[in-house]
Symmetry: C2
Subunit: 700 residues, 2 copies
């Protein structure tokens, strides 16, 4: 009963209902032990839940040694949480009954909803409606349940909860995948550690990751919140939760599935084809101050590395590797390097000081203290020396065979650094689960594999605070052009005018109808001529470049019209522009990602951005400082940044263009791109643009 008097009636909070219910009902509890529907009752008993537990089953008077109730209405006391264990067909009725009993939250196990597509989506919509009508909040459907180890609230159908003991801890887990509840429970408990709460949100039809996360931000028993995500849904709630977690000093660490399946929606613009959901997801995590990890092990092993720490704790400095084993140290340093984390050794003066103090350290990139490092005082001296260096922001202790034979000795020296100002982590080279468990229990992130170790440290290094809100600032002229366009897809000239109205330089242009003679140009030769028609013009062969004079222009117009006729492509006309010279071409894109919000994309112009997936993506809008960081991130823009001895492009103009373009977030634009944006020594000029109007999304 968690200390609350039993005469409190209906007014429990959502957090109380979920995490400290006075009574729980198990609707459709089974007495067939092989049925997952029998598990919650067994688990609640096994793990010693002290609240009232009411199995509900119209066909049984007793279930698993408990008295059963024919229906919810027959239950005498308050029910704060119900687990609906019946099949899909019976769920709606159970929810209605919850409403009548004034059960504030129902967890739904059944699947066959949105995750099944088609009819399942409609079924889910009906379920949500029914729950709203009944005044019941839903967790799921397709939820394997939730756990509060400290109170034995083992309200889950996951087989892993069969475990002998649920270990309480200060880490919470929210998972979209039900089976991961068991995976992480078993892996973390194997280290002697546990969770404060685990919540499987299933399909998030009602309670989302973000809303549950907000409850955990307020939970005094939770320090770190882990997310296992199949996709980013309800991004707005997720973003708000992340901001609250940051404010409360609770790090959020996320693992996202589905990266290999590009699932790229057929998109009108280049940007759509390029952005890909995973890069946009990375931008989302970064913008909201969520650490993103790549390896499954990292998700749980990194916890001590982030717990109690704030973003940027390890930004801009190098890692030092202190190792008792040359080979293990080299492996760790190699992996860190591959993950983009610089590894640096000690300066000669520090090496000399250490040697004077009797630490037999070798000079080099790795601080190799050899076998002597198995003596705790030697390891401590080396760790202290590394931590004292200004250029070192994190120290990785690599522990060799002593971890296998003398776990207490190996763990002792490093365990004392759990609350060091600069983070200290450990990579345990041999098979030494006891040393890993000892370190983890002492609050040191201890890794069994160099790959996960490097992944965690790289994620920590990339961790920044949530981005501040940025003013929306769009010139009214741009909004007017958008509003007055006759079609959702703007014609090329309107699109260029729109871009110009945003404050981005554009090339002058002239459109002539098909079959027209070469016009008198308001700009000089050489020019380019482009057939105006469907998007992705280069596919249609509808571009002639470097047209030197009027005769060549006349020939080009004929060629383009002929090509279009031959290919049966309807043309709107032919666009003529001066050739714009520059040092390089950029692609600037804008798009609203489902669940994530508006993003701005920078890549190299032409087909390269797509070929190499070489783009920088940020949530829009961005300021010019962030835009500069985006420019640095695109490898293919190296020539513009000053490659070898070539002249540099005007990166200030490019950054300004990115920032202005990113303000599309404030307009009803679905997607847009400028391709190419030609960057020269003096400026950045848009040569072609595509703009599609569309509604703004909920999350901005």
């Amino acid at each position: 009963m968690n200390g609350r008097p039993s005469d409190v009636t209906d007014s429990v909070s959502l957090a109380e209902a979920l995490f400290a219910p006075r009574g729980v009902a198990l609707i459709g509890a089974s007495d067939d032990a092989t049925n997952p529907g029998a598990r919650p009752l067994r688990f609640l008993a096994k793990h010693g839940f002290k609240g009232a537990v009411y199995p509900v089953n119209p066909n049984r008077a007793r279930i698993g040694g408990h008295g059963a109730y024919p229906d919810l209405a027959s239950i005498p006391g308050p029910v704060d949480l119900a687990y609906v264990l019946v099949g899909t067909a019976g769920v709606a009725e159970a929810i209605a009954a919850c409403g009548q009993k004034r059960v504030p939250v129902a967890v739904v196990l059944a699947d066959g909803y949105a995750e099944a597509g088609g009819a399942g989506e409609a079924r889910q919509a009906h379920l949500v409606e029914a729950a709203r009508a009944a005044g019941v909040r839903l967790l799921g459907p397709n939820s394997i349940g939730l756990l509060v180890p400290a109170t034995g609230l083992a309200m889950s159908a996951n087989a892993a909860v069969e475990t002998e003991r649920l270990i309480p801890g200060r880490t919470a887990l929210i998972t979209q995948s039900g089976s991961i509840l068991g995976t992480l429970l078993s892996r973390v408990q194997a280290r002697g550690l546990g969770f404060s709460k685990i919540v499987a949100v299933g399909n998030e039809a009602d309670l989302s990751v973000g809303e549950v996360g907000a409850l955990l931000v307020a939970d005094p028993d939770t320090d770190v919140i882990l997310l296992f995500l199949e996709s980013i849904r309800h991004g707005l709630a997720l973003a708000r939760f992340a901001a609250a977690a940051h404010a409360a000093g609770k790090p959020v660490v996320a693992y996202l599935l589905g990266r290999s399946d590009p699932g790229r929606a057929a998109a009108l613009s280049h940007t759509g084809a390029i952005a890909g959901s995973d890069k946009a997801a990375a931008a989302f995590f970064r913008a909201h101050g969520i650490l993103r990890v790549d390896h499954l092990e990292t998700l749980y092993e990194a916890v001590p590395l982030v717990s109690g720490r704030t973003p940027s704790v390890f930004a801009g400095t190098a890692a030092a590797v202190v190792s008792t084993t040359g080979g293990g140290g080299a492996m760790a340093a190699d992996r860190l390097g591959l993950a983009g984390v610089p590894v640096e050794g000690l300066p000669p003066a520090s090496v000399a000081r250490l040697r004077e103090a009797g630490v037999p350290v070798k000079e080099g990139r790795i601080i190799d203290v050899t076998l002597a490092g198995t003596r705790p005082e030697i390891m401590r001296a080396a760790l202290d020396a590394a931590l004292a260096e200004d250029h070192v922001g994190l120290v990785l202790a690599v522990i060799g065979s002593s971890a296998q034979f003398h776990p207490e000795l190996a763990a002792e020296a490093v365990a004392g650094y759990a609350s060091s100002e600069k983070p200290v982590a450990a990579f345990v080279v041999p098979h030494a689960p006891e040393t890993i468990a000892r370190l983890a229990q002492a609050g040191i992130a201890a890794f069994a594999n160099p790959e996960a170790c490097a992944d965690a440290i790289a994620a920590l290094r990339a961790w920044g605070p949530p981005r501040p809100a940025l003013a929306r600032d769009v010139p009214p002229a741009a909004a007017d052009i958008l509003a007055s366009a006759p079609d959702d897809v703007l014609d090329t000239q309107s699109a260029l005018a729109f871009v110009a109205a945003l404050g981005i330089e554009t090339a002058p242009s002239l459109v002539v109808p098909i079959g027209a003679a070469a016009p008198v140009l308001p700009f000089g030769f050489p020019v380019a001529a482009k057939a105006l028609g469907p998007a992705h013009k280069t596919e249609a062969g509808g571009v002639v470049l470097d047209i030197a004079d009027e005769a060549a222009l006349a020939a080009a117009l004929k060629t383009l019209a002929g090509n279009a006729a031959a290919a049966d492509t309807p043309l709107d006309g032919i666009l003529i522009q001066p050739m714009v010279a520059g040092l390089g071409e950029a692609l600037l894109g804008f798009r609203r990602e489902p669940g994530i919000g508006p993003v701005v994309v920078l890549g190299v112009g032409g087909v390269l951005a797509e070929l190499y997936e070489d783009v920088a993506i940020r949530l829009a809008p961005v300021d010019e400082r962030k835009a500069r960081a985006m420019i640095e991130e695109v490898r293919g823009l190296a020539p513009l940044r000053g490659y070898r001895n070539l002249p540099k492009g005007n990166l200030g103009a490019l950054a300004a263009a990115i920032a202005r373009f990113s303000q599309l977030a404030a307009l009803p634009v679905a997607e847009a791109d400028i391709n190419p944006l030609i960057v020269g020594e003096t400026g950045a000029v848009s040569v072609d643009a595509l703009v599609r109007r569309g509604p703004r999304s909920e999350i901005e």
Copy 2:
């Protein structure tokens, strides 16, 4: 004594001396238990080595309960193997004594040799000379020793050998890093598995990985050979060993350190800057039929996946994922996709058949048999169905919580597939070391992490046989041009003539001296003019393109001369060529990689290859079929392969050019590149070339 009569005298083979010595001497054996020099004696006794063991120490009559000998000469019986445990200063003397005692092989523990650089390299050269003079083969220096678990030959100073029991197995390990001996020993033994032999080759001053590998190819107790490499040294021996291993049906699996340190030698050509040692190493492994793994865990967990199998066993088909857990299956499939392994489900007819047979499988990319898959017969039915599909070449069983609570049940169904024609592997989702050990012991590769699992399966899929020897076929005219060049770096016109003599089309060219008037051209306008001088011409701004007529040419010549004068760059003249039009530019490079041999490199022309490290590398020479595969591999050449609706480049001409250029392997060329090689619809034309003469290397 391994069954050989003790009166056999000196004529033991190298393999017998190393792996079945009649007597071993421990020179400098210590009686200070904390000294690593005391370990081999203790370990040999602990693990029950039956041969004669002779501690040698002039200062002690007894060591660790054994009678000690003041010197080698005092030992009565034959000594086939000596471990030199003395400090660096005493090693040379010990080797000389080994010669006098006619000890065929000495293992040297001391460090301070080539791995220490500088004076260490000279010291190592002296040691090798001394050993040759004494008629003693060396293992090391800097060798932590060797193990033969089946006979208790625990001749190592690695602390991990302190383990209670050395488990014999059918896998051998050769490692350059000493500490990895302990790492892999502990990790593999934790699965209840072991090794046939472990050999730490140290600095490979004499006995190399390849030479030791050849012994293991002949070893009847070894099925699979693992290599832990810090770098590729003695590539020729390594290549010969790999070929012999292939012929013997013994897979070789390699892990290579040092990937994050590009260590790029200052190179004259673009190729040198691009190739990087890791990509060349990958080409080496591939060409010699060695599986290359990326994760530490993979090195040992993948063994059952390759043991007894031949290359290409899983080439060209997809993996199927049969899972008892949706989340775990999705994680595995996601990782496989990221590693480039296609994952496919069952066709509807097969799903229907399975369902009729009572297997509750869902349709989709993952063959999700749900909790029912915890019943062995259900899992078997699903595995059989997947294996029966022609498009499936490997099946991954993903085992959920049953692995944790019912290891015998979870392992049972999958264990029966160890000798399945198509490989079957397992990913164990929860913490379940017992299930993993059971599976591994049954001969199923069982992974605890989805990342290593995908790494192993991707390595298996990429595994091919060693390349066949390819005829060297160089036109004599090319050899003549090379031989008659006055300098090692050919001037541009000679380089282009050389390329033409190889049978690769080149653009016509004319060179005019600085200050000359515009010449009469033997080809039409437009032309390009390039200042001839140092390499990397684009850095000097010494190129003018698209010169339209004679007047423009005169102006360009002046500009180039002026630029050069202003930059104080000495020029050899100015090269004039017609502008060559094409659909794209390729870079073709050739280089001799230390230890690896000649490689041919294909990338995109211009700076892109370097920016994106987007190159295909193969050992040279290659035939046109391999050249086509290289073309497919370079992302940036997508436009030439027919991107969207654009015309395709003449890939046949490009492949022919690659094959011909790769024949530089047969000529004394140190490095060369053609950049750009302009590829159009009709052919591939070299516009610029760089050739540096240099000696051929030992390994070709």
